[in-house]
Symmetry: C3
Subunit: 399 residues, 3 copies
């Protein structure tokens, strides 16, 4: 089967979807319509076929893709750089001091100053509840204004590479992964997904992955079960959205009291650590009062609290309680693997090892999702652009 054969039905599917993403940003999945999400995933699939079929996807001859990581990152940094390279943009990182509240005027000015040739501006800002999404929204407003004032010749798209509320490049990659495993988005209907907290000895991780999974997967008719110890709540807004999505799609969204309960008959499990709610709030207070240097101390306290829930581990015994003992295991990586990357962690070594290659595959989609978000926001008619690439079929790598 040629690349063209694989891509043509996807182009048809893309043609039937209505997207209002052109000249916009991609910040939160719940701000996008179903069609827009499907557009992004479909474009990502096409770009993945192009790469594997050695067809160049360079839609830009120069221009910048700017990244701003206000929290550490290796995987997402490389995904963003890969997406930029795929599309023909040059990556430029802006290395702001971490843990600083940026002020209005500075945000506006800096956003414009780095964007004269910028097509995409990817931001990670996930450590402080109430700050990350706000920062990205401020940048978006500044860029829109700069564009309207004629300062910027093009409207750069802000791409959320993880904020305090959502992690759309992760959740959309995960959705692509589920689609690949079950054959279609339609096939996800009625599948049970257990999104659960798990114990980790490492730093107080952001809430955006579980929030992103609950809000997104409930839109596709899945039965999403959330479980976590007391005090590890998610941002209430995202719980409400998940409930609303489930009601609308014919899926369900429930909260269980234990990993054990959540795992029973699950088709998919997603056990992953995150920081306690109070820690997340206190962290923001420290930041706002200029005591960012105390965050590390706070995280130490959080980790001590975590210790009470060391039994939240994805073990073989728990996996055996899932649907046919064969649930798919998902993780955004890196996982804290017991007796491998730490003494006690999120998942038993034998469980992780069985699903290792699958989690790598899961991660492989992210770069195409980012590239798709850039195409969806920067091109008026991505289908036509992709058809043009297919017709030309410039080799990505010479023979």
């Amino acid at each position: 089967m040629t690349t063209a054969d694989k891509v043509r039905p996807l182009l048809d599917r893309l043609g039937a979807l209505h997207s209002g993403l052109f000249q916009k940003d991609f910040l939160l999945t719940w701000e996008q319509t179903d069609d827009e999400l499907k557009s992004v995933i479909t474009i990502a699939e096409i770009l993945e076929h192009f790469w594997k079929g050695n067809i160049s996807a360079r839609v830009f001859n120069g221009g910048l893709a700017v990244s701003n990581f206000r929290d550490n990152s290796t995987r997402t940094r490389f995904s963003f750089a890969s997406a930029a390279s795929l599309l023909g943009l040059n990556t430029q990182d802006i290395d702001e001091a971490k843990s600083q509240v940026a002020h209005g005027e500075t945000v506006r000015e800096t956003a414009n100053m780095i964007s004269f040739l910028t097509e995409a501006y990817g931001i990670r800002d996930d450590l402080f509840l109430g700050e990350g999404h706000k920062y990205m929204s401020d940048v978006s407003t500044a860029l829109q204004q700069g564009y309207e004032e004629g300062v910027l010749p093009q409207r750069p798209a802000v791409i959320n590479l993880q904020c305090d509320l959502d992690h759309p490049t992760q959740s959309c990659s995960d959705l692509m992964h589920l689609q690949a495993m079950y054959g279609s988005l339609e096939a996800l209907r009625g599948k049970k997904l257990a999104m659960t907290w798990a114990y980790s000895p490492s730093y107080g991780k952001p809430l955006s992955v579980p929030q992103g999974i609950c809000t997104l997967m409930t839109r596709f008719g899945m039965d999403v079960v959330l479980a976590h110890p007391e005090g590890y709540d998610l941002v209430p807004e995202t719980i409400e959205i998940s409930k609303k999505h489930a009601a609308a799609s014919g899926g369900t969204f429930t909260v269980a009291n234990s990993m054990e309960e959540a795992f029973i008959d699950a088709d998919i499990v997603y056990p992953k650590s995150w920081a306690p709610w109070t820690v997340m709030q206190e962290r923001t207070s420290l930041l706002r009062s200029g005591q960012g240097n105390k965050v590390q101390e706070l995280e130490k306290k959080a980790l001590e609290n975590n210790l009470k829930y060391r039994n939240w581990e994805c073990t073989e015994a728990l996996m055996s309680q899932t649907k046919g003992g064969k649930a798919h295991y998902m993780h955004c990586l890196p996982a804290d693997i017991s007796e491998v990357s730490c003494k006690e962690g999120e998942v038993a070594a034998s469980v992780f090892d069985r699903y290792r290659a699958e989690t790598y595959q899961e991660a492989s989609h992210k770069l195409y999702v980012i590239a798709a978000m850039i195409m969806a926001t920067r091109f008026e008619n991505p289908k036509a652009t992709l058809e043009g690439l297919l017709a030309k079929a410039t080799p990505r790598k010479l023979a």
Copy 2:
């Protein structure tokens, strides 16, 4: 009006100018002829039209644009990276320790070692009087020698991204901005420009912006007035050059004793902070005697001295004294805005806000100026090269 229609008269203008920049560097505007300066600005205008008209300006298929920031930078870093991306070069930053006097042999060797595929080498070195331009000249000598010895297959152009004497990418952007506002360089004749010191609570800033503005704008028949508190003199050489330029162009260069005096009937005001002369000299002494670590302490002292001149602020009252109360306000950004970015600063919030978009526009030209300097130094006949790009009209962004 098509891009071709806009560009053709500029190509004609470019064709009438004589430039000796090919195979040379761009270090100080006063080392260049009027024709050479006009060439750079004209090429910059053409490149700007190309970008806005979606015509690719990739004159290189690979090769490096190396940057070396010996002082902090965000804006210029992004301008340089943008210029490189525009022309098809890959950016590579060399991260030398700051505040170090580089020795002869090391300068020569490093310059050659990083330049085997290098077309442009952009350097910022502005903190130490007597050092920055010298360093760039040493690099230039080393590259010329490497080229003549056959070590380097091409002669990389050194681009001054701000030294102790001049800031040519800034001053040429500012000149482009003035040309755009008044319609032509000829129209600048007789316009009064007030280049004045202003109070800032932030670090002891380099002298190269006021020096660059005074030396450049006096060449185009403008009436340039410089004003600063006692002890904030500029490098004498640049004062002499400004006087000579004014005499030759039919403009004037005068020194006023206060912001008030300088602003009267001004067409353009450029109020901006810089460090006291003695501080700049002492900073270099510290560096040369290996006490670079004491620079911060010195700057603290300088800022205390600044406090005496807190009334040097660009206020609404002062602006009302300018020509018709409507002078253009210019700034290289970031400005210290009173009650916005600091308690007391260079400019009142209401003044800055009125001119904010204009200062952003002013900044937008810099990347094209840098790209134009690279084209002017690396291409024997930039007009023919640009005509080739126009004829081919490869889209920068696919449809």
Copy 3:
């Protein structure tokens, strides 16, 4: 003589060589056949002609070249970035903490996570005996597995940018340099090369350069003489390999007791500092026991020990003892030049100065060697690919 005229005989030579490098890595020269080494050098020569003849060698339209420098680097960093730019790849650096033993699972996961679009992964890891090559081998295994599992759509090549055992991009550049000076590899037969230790006041340098030179040059019928003070032995394995190579090629490999002895009648001298054997071993012990912070202290001790051998300096008197007093002087740079870069160093200023341009030329080949290693490992038939580039002759820089 046109570029095509220069390149055609090289393409013929390349066509006659058998290489099994496709889909493999380049880690140690002694793991490669003579034909494979000759392939790399021939491709490098062709790429050098392409650059100088303004023929684009962009064989990739996007994709990443990832670099991982676990020891400092400027030269090799720029060589790697230049090679990537030459071939059309985007560079992305992974900035891991230095001085850390990376664990198995982390190595495997990270290697895969950064490689979804990666064609080449360049690694420098040279400070710890027994660690560098092992680390690169682990990465190689991880990438091979990721490719076989379908996680990676292409098999990235690991390129050794210096490990504890070998420095193949340096030694192959040096071989290219010798070939250029003597006209052919065949002409190296019977030439005497003195690879000797030399005094340096700077940090305890890796052993990989002398090991790389001894193991490689003995393959081409040269008479290689190694000399160093007591206690500055090389890794025994590399001594054995050098002996075996000399026996097979008809060259010789001997050990002399002094610089004086080694220099007598030498055609080429390569005087260069490295750390004492016991220091290299202790350094690894410290690292493995988690005391990486004590490495600096250890290096200080090593430098004190070095002081005993200050007379190991490449002086004019010593040079006069070489073949006709005119041996070629080689160095990987930067050299510690007495009374220039340090008080007492590896080489007298007048000697270095006479050969300075030659050492720069020697260094100029490295970027093409790296690019050639990427082409040899990533293309099934590099000859055909290069012929395609020559036929198309896309200008690297527009006219």
